[in-house]
Every structure is written in C-alpha cells, then in structure tokens.
C-alpha cells in the first residue's frame, strides 16, 4: 500500500495531495466525483512495498543565494494493521547531522512523533498534529510528510492533460474538513500507468491561485515499484525551490520493529546495518 510515508517514493506525497473534491450536485457531477474518489483510492493503494529505505538529498535553492543541501536516510515500514512507521535521519550537513525524526502513524489515525537532537542528547515528543511550518526550512510543510487518507478529501476528475510526455488524469481534491489541512485545494496530474502524480498544484488561501507546485522530473521502477527519483517543489510566489533526489532506494528488506523506537532514534548505530 502506498498511502503513507512521504518518502516511500515521493509518489505517496502526490497521492496524499490527490484527494480533495467537491461533491457535485448533478448526476453527471456525481459520476465524475465517483471516478475521482476511485482514482484517489487507487493512488493511495499503489503498491510501494512492505518497507523501504531511501537515501535522499534535499537541495534548497533561491535566486542569488547559495544553495543549501541536506542529506538524509529515510526508513519506512507498514505493519499489517495499517500502522506506518517512518524514521528520518539527517546525515548532512554537520550542524544537523544525527538529528532524527520518528513518526508512528497509527491505524486509528492517531500519530506520535519524537525528535532526537544530538546537541541535547534527548529524545523529545513533538506535536504530531502540526500541519503548517516548513520542514527543515524546505518548501514542504509538516502536513506534506504525513499520511492523508483519501476519505479526508472529496475528489473530482477534471479530465485529461499532458505533463511532458505523459498523458495524465487531472484530479481535484478538496478537504472534507477545512480545519485539517493547510491547503484549500489541490490539483494532481496522475499518470494512470504508474499511479504517480507527475505534477501537483497546491492552493493555500486562494482556491484559484496555486501557491506551490510539485513537479516529478524522474521516476523509475525499482524492484517492481514505481518510485519518484527526482522532483522539485517550488514556492510560486518567491521562486524558492526544494529539490529531492533519491540516490538509492531499497524495498522489502524486512526492517525490524526495533528500528522504529526511541532507542533507535537516539542511537544512529542501530540503523547502520540497514543503510543502503
């Protein structure tokens, strides 16, 4: 199932972004909405392995300013009961090296999140309900990192459109409960073959004017799973851009539960044998 951790291939991001729809009043509108919901569910259910391990580089660029780069390892595991665990470990630069973020998204929708800051040598619980706020100064909000179930949005299929060489389905998603998202609307361009979003437009305050745009630059099938290998997320107002490049990704390695504990969060050495 693909619907969970953002780095399970960044495709999962798009799928979460995929979901918001106004229920149309007309019979035709209802049919379009139904198709949209089905597509959103298919995107959510896209196979992405029982677990994954990724080496990711995040580059933050802004015109006229030196680029900043963060390296990270991302471990993700899905349990049989739909619980999803994600451990992100920063490997670079030195001032944040060793910092870890552990997120347990429970099957009941309850999330628990802890951060480990090497300078403090303390594991601290953090607000898992945080939606806004930039993740390590990137263009990703904390909400973008979390699982978003298709039922949290209403979805509407708007038609077909080409993104580069790919013919895509255009999906509009609007939150059912406006308070549970930073975004008022999302538009996703879904490749029906890979079920990856090739482009996502995010609307924060104005439902007519996108504030951010995700573009998938490269995707690959790794161990049979479609994976976004290179993507950009651009703040359309400032031009600030976050580029995520997946250097290596491995699926289905039977990552142990012990990797997703506060002990492993505080002790980098525990994950050493699972690094790609």
């Amino acid at each position: 199932m693909a619907g969970t951790a953002w780095f399970s291939g960044l495709g999962s991001l798009g799928q979460r972004l995929g979901g918001w729809l106004l229920i149309a009043a007309s019979a035709c509108g209802a049919a379009v909405a139904d198709d949209g919901a089905k597509l959103a569910q298919r995107v959510y259910d896209r196979p992405d392995g029982k677990d994954s391990t990724s080496v990711v580089t995040m580059s933050l660029t802004e015109e006229g300013k030196p680029a900043r780069t963060r390296g990270m390892l991302v471990f993700r595991a899905s349990a049989a009961d739909s619980q999803v665990s994600t451990l992100i470990r920063f490997t670079d630069p030195a001032d944040i090296q060793g910092t870890g973020l552990l997120t347990i998204d429970g099957a009941d929708g309850v999330s628990n999140q802890w951060i480990y800051l090497p300078a403090m040598q303390r594991v601290r619980r953090v607000d898992s309900n945080r939606k806004g706020g930039r993740f390590v100064n990137s263009d990703y909000f904390f909400e973008d990192l979390r699982d978003r179930k298709p039922t949290m949005d209403t979805h509407k299929l708007l038609g077909r459109e080409r993104v580069g060489d790919t013919e895509t389905d255009m999906l509009e998603s609007v939150p059912v409960d406006a308070t549970n998202s930073v975004y008022v609307r999302r538009l996703s361009w879904i490749d029906p073959k890979s079920l990856l979003p090739m482009r996502v437009d995010f609307f924060e305050r104005n439902a007519e004017q996108a504030s951010k745009r995700l573009m998938v630059l490269k995707r690959e099938q790794v161990q049979g799973y479609w994976t976004v290998m290179d993507s950009t997320l651009t703040d359309l107002a400032t031009g600030h851009q976050t580029r995520l490049t997946v250097g290596r990704v491995l699926y289905d390695r039977n990552l142990p539960e012990s990797l997703f504990t506060s002990r492993a969060l505080a002790e980098e050495r525990m994950e050493k044998e699972f690094r790609p």
Binding site: Q97, D127, N137, R269
Partner: protein, 422 residues
C-alpha cells in the same frame, strides 16, 4: 584523585588517542573524526565598571568508531576566555568531552568513561537534571545543553518493551566549570561583597575562596522512563553531589568561603504529553538537602520541592516555536536564612526563522514571579550558510539584589559571534 587531575588525565588520554586514531574526516557518518564545534564571540559591557569587553574562543573535536558490539568515543574541548578592562584576565582551559568505551547487546548497553548524562525533560530549569557537570563559566548566557559537560561515569541502560532503565554511577566526582576568579560572571564577588542567590554581604569584601570537598565519588542514580500513546513518563532516584558549588561562610579575618558540593537525594517524576496543540513537559522533584546559610552564617541543608510545567507550541501553526515554563522551588526550613526559600519564575524562548530559514530571530527570557528578577536575551542569527551561524545578541539583566538578574545587573552586554560545526 582531585578533579583537576581527573580532568587532566581524561583530557590527555583523549587527545593522545585522538591523534593516534584520527584518519581523514568522516563525511555524513556517525563515526570518524569531527569538529563538533568552533565558536568565536566578542562582546562589550555597557554598564560594568570593572570590564569593558570580553572574548571567547571555543573548539571541540571528537572521534567515534565501532566494531561489533563495541564502540568508542574520544573527545576534547578548548575554551579561551578573555576579559578586558580593570578586571582583565585571559584563561585557556582544556577539558574532556565524551571519552568512553561502550558495549551493547540487543537490550543492554554498558558505557564506561566520561559521557554526557542529561536527565529530565524540561528546558532551562530541570530539577531532575543532576547527573551532569555544570558549565557555569558564562553563567546563563548559553542554552541548557551548552551549560552541561561530560562527567566520569559507569552507565548501564536496559531497553525493554516500551520502557528504559538507566543506571548511572559516578565513581569520581568532578566539579562544575566555574568562571575565572576575576570574571564578571563569577557567582562570588569579593570586590563588592556579594554572593549569587544571597545578595550583598559587606563582610565578604576581600574574602578568600577555597575548595573544600572535591575528592571522592559523585554518587549515582536510577531512572525509569516509558512511552505510551500520547504520553511519556518517568521516575528517578538519585543520590548525587551537586557539581556547582555552594559557598559556605567561615567567619574570620579574612572571611573564608568554602566551595562545597553537598550530597542530596533527589526523587523525581516527569511527564511529557501532547494536548491542546502543544507538547507539555512536567517535572516534580523532591531534594533532600538544599544548602543554606542562616543569619548567623551557619551552614545547613533542608529539603525542597521543585515543580516545573512547560509547554512547546507553534502559534498559528506557523514556523515560530515558543517554549514557556513556570517553575517553582520551595525550600522547607524553619530557620531564617539568607537564601531565597521560595523561587517562582517564568521562563521561555521564542524562535522565529524567516527569509526561508536563512535568518532567525530568537528571544530567551527568565523573569521572577515573586521577586523582581529579569533576564532577556534577544538574538538575531544568519543561518544561510550551511554548518555556520553568525549572530548578534544582547544579554540584559535587572532585579533585586538576591536574584540572578539583580546579581548580574551591571553585566548588560552586546555580543557578536560566529559558530560552525564541521
């Protein structure tokens, strides 16, 4: 073995091993040689008659490695402090950081050597945090983690299903790192006759300060912590010596101030939970022996109750991070003492990154709730270059004579600094 000798031995062995084992710097790994910190800071005092300015140079390096069930850490730090003006001084001090050998199995981890031990959960004032060695060389100018240093310890940690048992033994005591005698941050002012926490004592002018009890063991403790859905909690018991000295008055001519480090038993309970859009952190601790001085300059100890409740939140779900804490300490004594027996304070920190995280505006503060006591630390940092930070900050103090803000009320300063980690 005295603390200074211990420090010297650890530092020397650490440096020798560092030199012997160091290879090319490791990149993006938790092992290898690393420059943990480099820092330069200069500042000027606006109101202190004895000092016009100060400078700090700090560096720390470490080497880490592992093989099988074993791992090690070697590290050292260098701190050079200078103060300018009538009370000028230069001090260069080499110290150990983490130098340990560790053996670990699935559920058990044993560590022998100097190591950082930071218990407790709250920021700034943590009554459970008694194991580490206090760094008071710059009073409270730095944040809590930078005011703690490694301590010689034997540590056993057991990791169970959702819980952890942490046992620490401090076989040799090493005292806190205190400011140079002439430093404006020294808690004893023998020029004007003042002691931090008590205030003006005219008889202390010209007093001689001596170390009294820096031999022996540091004590030990046991801490249990557990995690649950939306709540983490813990309990601890410690029998430790406080590393930061208390100055015992020995009347005479001149008066002698003995820097003592009394043992006390501390029972602690802690809680961390996520509610109402905030992360709440709480600590309660009972301390069996808080050192005090009676009006007749008799030294005694009495128990105290400490409670701290703190919250961390992001207003408006934005990037601005706010931590607030209310702390209270009540010393149970039936004697009239010179020390404060009720201390209620409100502390906090606001961090506001802006310009896509290339800049950050911070504000730390601590204010008394039952006494006039204020410390404000605004800071503007440029963080647009990876691994480096350039900052401009101010430290402003005011308050009654027996409070921290009052004791350092002439130490208002403006500083500019650079720090990096490589």
């Amino acid at each position: 073995m005295r603390g200074r000798q211990i420090r010297s031995a650890w530092t020397t062995s650490g440096l020798v091993m560092l030199g012997a084992l160091a290879g090319p710097p490791a990149h993006a790994q938790d092992t290898g040689l690393k420059v943990d910190a480099l820092r330069l800071e200069v500042g000027g005092f606006t109101d202190e008659p004895g000092a016009t300015g100060s400078a700090l140079v700090h560096g720390a390096v470490s080497l880490r490695g592992d093989s099988g069930d074993w791992s090690y850490a070697l590290g050292a730090r260098l701190d050079a402090h200078s103060q300018y003006g009538n009370r000028d001084f230069d001090r260069v001090r080499l110290d150990y950081t983490e130098n340990y050998l560790r053996w670990q199995q699935k559920d058990l981890r044993l560590t022998l050597g100097t190591q950082n031990v930071l218990w407790g959960r709250v920021d700034e004032i943590s009554p459970i945090d008694r194991m580490g060695r206090v760094d008071f060389s710059r009073a409270v100018l730095d944040k809590l983690p930078d005011r703690r240093r490694a301590v010689p310890a034997v540590r056993a940690e057991y990791f169970g299903e959702g819980f952890k048992l942490d046992g620490v033994l401090l076989p040799v005591f090493d005292e806190a790192v205190m400011p140079q005698t002439r430093s404006v941050w020294n808690p004893v002012d023998t020029v004007n006759g003042r002691i931090l926490g008590i205030g003006a004592l005219p008889g202390m002018v010209g007093a001689r300060v001596v170390k009294a009890d820096i031999n022996g063991a540091g004590g030990g403790g046991l801490r249990f912590t557990a995690e649950g859905d939306n709540v983490d909690y813990g309990f601890s018991v410690q029998r430790v010596r406080q590393s930061q000295p208390y100055y015992r008055v020995v009347p005479g001519a001149p008066v002698v101030l003995q820097a003592v480090h009394p043992f006390s038993t501390v029972l602690g309970a802690e809680l961390e939970t996520e509610r109402l859009g905030a992360t709440w952190r709480m600590e309660v601790a009972v301390n069996s022996a808080v050192p005090l001085t009676t009006q007749s300059f008799q030294y005694r100890t009495d128990p105290s109750l400490n409670v701290v409740i703190g919250a961390e939140f992001f207003p408006g779900d934005s990037e601005t991070r706010v931590t607030l804490q209310v702390a209270g300490q009540r010393v149970m004594t039936n004697q009239i003492v010179l020390d404060r027996t009720r201390i209620y304070s409100f502390t906090g920190e606001i961090e506001h990154p802006f310009a896509n995280g290339r800049w950050r505006a911070d504000l730390r503060f601590a204010m008394g709730l039952n006494d006039r006591d204020l410390y404000i630390n605004p800071r503007l940092s440029y963080t647009g270059i990876d691994r480096q930070e350039i900052y401009l900050a101010a430290h402003l103090f005011s308050g009654a004579a027996n409070t921290l803000g009052g004791f350092y009320r002439r130490n208002d300063s403006v500083v500019v600094g650079w720090q990096g980690k490589f």
